[in-house]
Amino acid sequence: MCMKDSDHIPLLKVKSISKYYGRRIGCHGIGFELWPGEVLGIVGESGSGKTTLLNCISGQLEPSEGAVWYASNGGVIDMCKAPEPQRRLVMRTEMGTVYQNPRDGLRMHVSAGGNIGERLMANGLRHYGQVRRKALNWLEKVEIDQERIDDTPDTFSGGMQQRLQIARNLVTGPRIIFMDEPTSGLDVSVQARLLDLLRGLVTELDLSMVMVTHDLAVTRLLAHRLIVMKDGEAVESGLTDQVLDDPQHPYTQLLVSSILQP
């Protein structure tokens, strides 16, 4: 039998991360491990610190306390302490971020092909034909008509923009993707299609993912494990089905009971 478990050490070890904005708490004392191929969902009401936590983990925000150990291809590094060039290199080559607002993740005045090719070229691919071929290939993977390759994303629908963000991130073969409410601005049917796409890509590419969402049904669909946040703290965490089927904390029980069949 083929053991697909490339998992002898966690990909990400988050140790007691806190972020303070002056005297206000962004998030406090949060830790977890993420293994290759695992999807972590961060849920909680708005203002509970989900995005702060995500940004601290993904290297975009410096935490006030704690450490983020990342098992990069070149060895384990502390994302908070690593020299800037090393951190940037790892973020560019092994990590990807899909933003809630496509405007934060795409260049709206650059063609779709250019958006996808940009990271490839930043990582050293210079051959124009190859870049274009890869871009076409990824447009197809994320179900965008290849004929739209020279159009700019501001002519795309919201769902297409999110799919383009995904293509732009995945083209360089990252090992981990960070997502902040990637489906929140979309119609239900468009959302469903995007989630199907993500679920397929996660299994196909053995990707790890950390995903902020307020939608428990999305976590049931995609996440292996969950962190439930309230007022900057993780009030509960664990296996997704355990947290949703046997929630322990009053706040989690409230969240679960206020939706129809999560």
């Binding site: 039998m1 083929c2 053991m3 697909k4 478990d5 998992d7 966690p10 491990e33 293994w35 695992e38 469903a192 199907d196 299994t203 669909l221 292996h224 494990r225 664990g238 296996l239 089905d241 355990q242 089927d245 046997d246 322990q248 904390h249 009053p250 029980q253 409230l254 009971s257």
Partner: protein, 235 residues
């Protein structure tokens, strides 16, 4: 004989914080050993905690206190306090679970639902598909349904998808929650056959079988779950 699962001093209460802090005690110092090659039937009145026990064993419910030891890959692991990563690994290789109802994932075709446990083990679609087809055919799921999402299937059809999914991979331990509950006699017999084949291949079983005859034909031992005397528990 070596054991596969050892439940020791298990305690479980549900606390309903949003419903006046109600406390529902289900297990108090419960013990159970499942030996290799054994098939245990859980019996007891409705609501006593039979399904809860299976869910605790599977890591779907959180263990209050006590231990649930599982033999996994030559090691002995405790499900209490196990990291989600470990639990997923145990579910992938050691413990299978057929719930009473299929939890349908919207838009995923029935045949994919059935193949999934093999695919997470790294088996290719090419290898997994024919095995899924054999099971679906055996369970009399019409071919035209294979590519549809089970969302719109009847209760009995969904349950047969669930059985096919549960038995497509082999596990050292299987947990079965009323696997034949919503099936007609013909399909019930097929499911009993499938379970017997798993038993003969060395799978150990803990199951809930509401049908007396089926229980007698599948189980080598009965374990009676006793209701907890609620008067004795203080809040």
């Amino acid at each position: 004989m070596k054991w596969m699962i050892d439940v020791d001093n298990l305690n479980k209460n549900f606390f309903l914080h949003t419903q006046g802090e109600a406390k529902i005690p289900v297990f108090r110092d419960f013990r159970l050993k499942l030996k290799h090659d054994e098939s245990v039937a859980l019996v007891g009145p409705s609501g006593v905690g039979k399904s809860t026990l299976l869910r605790l064993l599977y890591g779907n419910y959180k263990i209050g206190s006590g231990k649930i030891l599982v033999r996994h890959n030559g090691d002995v692991l405790n499900m209490a306090g196990a990291d989600p990563h470990m639990i997923l690994h145990i579910r992938k290789w050691t413990m299978g679970y057929v719930s009473q109802f299929l939890r349908v994932i919207p838009r995923v075709p029935a045949i994919q639902v059935v193949m999934e446990p093999l695919k997470v083990r790294g088996v290719s679609e090419k290898e997994a598909r024919p095995r899924a087809e054999v099971l679906l055919t055996r369970l009399r799921i019409p071919k035209r349904l294979w590519s549809l999402s089970p969302t719109t299937f009847s209760g009995g059809e969904q349950q047969r998808i669930n059985i096919a999914r549960g038995f497509i991979a082999t596990y050292p331990v299987m947990l079965l929650d009323e696997p034949t509950a919503s099936l007609d006699p013909v399909n019930s017999r097929t499911v009993v056959e499938i379970i017997k084949e798993a038993l003969s291949q060395g799978t150990s079983v803990i199951g809930i079988f509401h049908d007396e005859d089926i229980r007698n034909s599948l189980a080598s031992r009965r374990v009676e779950i006793q209701p907890i005397n609620n008067h004795n528990c203080s809040k």
